[in-house]
């Protein structure tokens, strides 16, 4: 199996929205490479006729009635209680779009 490289680390950090410092990249690359090397051991297991498992007690789809449960609803104030930046009862976030420069 291919060895994990610095460019893989940069790629997954970008996918996971983690900004790494130079020293973190230097530290994490060999650590992650060693772990990836270790988990690659699984390739030796014959799983040709084996189905994958993601749920161990055999439940599949679980439904609930489509009803509003008022105990499960946070008031707007409670929902906003963890943030410092609000505006008219909404979460305030940084702009994710920039103004077009071609107009």
């Amino acid at each position: 199996m291919a060895k994990l490289t610095k460019s893989d680390v940069l790629h997954v950090a970008k996918l996971a929205k983690l900004d790494l410092t130079e020293s973190e990249i230097k530290k994490f690359t060999p650590q992650l490479a060693k772990i990836v090397d270790y988990i690659s051991e699984l390739s030796e297991v014959d799983t040709g006729h084996t189905e994958p498992t993601s749920q161990t007690t055999g439940l599949t789809d679980v439904f609930r009635p489509d009803k509003v449960n008022s105990d499960q609803i946070l008031s707007p104030d409670a929902a906003l209680s963890g943030t410092e930046e609000t505006h008219n009862g909404y979460f305030k976030v940084k702009a994710i779009l920039i103004e077009r420069s071609d107009k």
Partner: protein
């Protein structure tokens, strides 16, 4: 006053008026004030809430199943109005707007919350050293780790700062610290207890675990907590299996791997002899995929971690993603890697298939035996700093525990011996899904046979 060791002792004392619930809280807080700085067990002590509840209990009819039981929660349990950090700087000042199901149920059963305990941040670790608020120390010897990730919960009970405690077990995080601190620890069957309102680590593996000094106390807690709440869709109501007069106990040769410490091996062998003396038939079983449990676990678990920690963006609550510690960053990246295009089939899908093989191993073993005895950790408690510099070495601590989460089975860690260095050492018994009652019966009978007397480290 000395803090009691069991729920029964607590309740008899309250009923006989040997002490009041307020005096009980005084005694636990005294312990906390004396030792918490040194051992770093609690991140938040809920003194005010504890006294309020104690006064309520002193004025009530004392009939609830857990009345008066002083309880500590791993800081992953959401507690309305009480800071909940996951031992991470990301949630350093997060105060939840609601409490989870376990906290509500224990509250209604008459417990007294005493505080929120330290742990490996986001439950990532096997020693307690990954906390963003400093490591917890083992109350039996503070140069040693208490185990993890539910480090503070185990240390709280072992040191008499709380009677019982709640933890979470995703790959051994209750059984291993219970083992390192000389406590009984239960990892229930996947889907036995609701995880609603507990910060998620890896959702196909996460279970609600508990710590106490005795098996009967663990049983009382389990009965108060199990069952559907309509809020965690993985939970199912289940019938309890019938206790038997004769059991067959399995032992797997694959557990005696290279790297198993001789003292741990001797302890397990000695426990097997006790079981035999009790008239239990011991039979060898085969679990051929045991050695793949850790690689499967370190694919599936980080994959689910990377997804669950994706929600922490610092916008609605908490700090930004730059405040994640090293271990969380490593697991997020490892999980993202095994799920990413080009690697999904080779890692994630492959791991899910080998997970099926592990399940087949155990299911086939349980057609021959009622339960299986196993080591908990491959080593006795180790020193702080001894292995924490190498993440992979720490992952190997999970060899005997992670497979149980991957297969969804229940496991009960049982304290037994003391290591040469004076630290606790024990074993675990594993059973088929929803066979907790059988594990309690076996654990109880074992402790009766050896005339086990729990004790507090201080």
């Amino acid at each position: 006053m000395n803090t009691p060791l069991t729920i029964k002792e607590t309740q008899e004392g309250l009923k006989n008026k040997s002490f009041s619930a307020v005096e009980l809280v005084d005694a636990y807080l005294k312990k906390i004030n004396e030792k918490n700085k040194e051992l770093n067990v609690f991140l938040t002590v809920t003194e005010e809430e504890a006294y309020k509840k104690a006064k309520e209990i002193d004025g009530s009819d004392k009939s609830l199943p857990l009345f008066g039981a002083v309880t500590a929660y791993k800081d992953l349990y959401l507690t309305k109005g009480v800071r909940t950090t996951a031992a991470s700087k990301v949630l350093e000042s997060y105060v939840p707007a609601y409490s989870g199901t376990v906290v509500k149920k224990l509250e209604e059963a008459g417990t007294i919350m005493i505080g929120k305990t330290n742990c490996d941040a986001w439950a990532h670790g096997a020693s307690g050293e990954n906390s963003d608020f400093g490591p917890t120390k083992n109350p039996w010897n503070k140069e040693y780790v208490p185990g993890g990730s539910s480090s503070g919960s185990a240390a709280a009970v072992a040191s008499g700062m709380s009677l019982i405690a709640m933890g979470t077990d995703t790959g051994g995080s209750v059984r291993q610290p219970a083992n390192f601190c000389g406590l009984v620890g239960l990892k229930p069957t996947y889907g036995a207890i609701s995880r609603y309102g507990v910060i998620a680590m890896a959702s196909s593996l996460d279970t609600i675990g508990s710590f106490a000094h005795t098996v009967p106390d663990i049983e009382i807690m389990f009965n108060a907590l199990k069952g559907e709440d309509g809020l965690d869709a993985s939970v199912i109501n289940f019938p309890s299996p019938k206790k038997k007069s004769k059991y067959t106990l399995g032992i797997a040769k694959e557990f005696f791997l290279k790297g198993l410490d001789s003292e741990v091996e001797e302890t397990v062998n000695k426990a097997v002899k006790v079981f035999e003396k009790m008239g239990i038939t011991v039979k060898e079983v085969s679990l051929p995929h045991t050695k793949y449990a850790v690689p499967v676990y370190y694919i599936i678990q980080p994959a689910e971690v990377s997804s669950n920690l994706g929600r922490f963006d610092g916008i609605r609550y908490g700090n930004g993603r730059e405040t994640f510690g090293d271990e969380a960053k490593r697991r997020i990246m490892l999980g993202t890697y095994v799920l990413s295009a080009g690697y999904y089939d080779a890692f994630y899908l492959k791991a899910q298939k080998v997970r099926s093989k592990l399940i087949q191993d155990f299911d086939s073993a349980f057609t021959q035996v009622d339960a299986i005895i196993s080591p908990v950790s491959p080593t006795p408690p180790f020193k702080i700093g001894e292995i924490s510099s190498d993440p992979l070495e720490m992952y190997l601590e999970d060899i005997y525990t992670a497979g149980i989460n991957l297969t969804g089975l229940p496991g009960l860690a049982i304290p037994f011996e003391v290591s040469k260095k004076g630290l606790p050492i024990g074993f675990q018994i594993l059973g088929p899904r929803f066979s907790e009652e059988i594990l309690f019966d076996l654990g109880n009978k074992f402790h009766k046979e050896i005339d086990y007397k729990p004790s507090i480290a201080y």
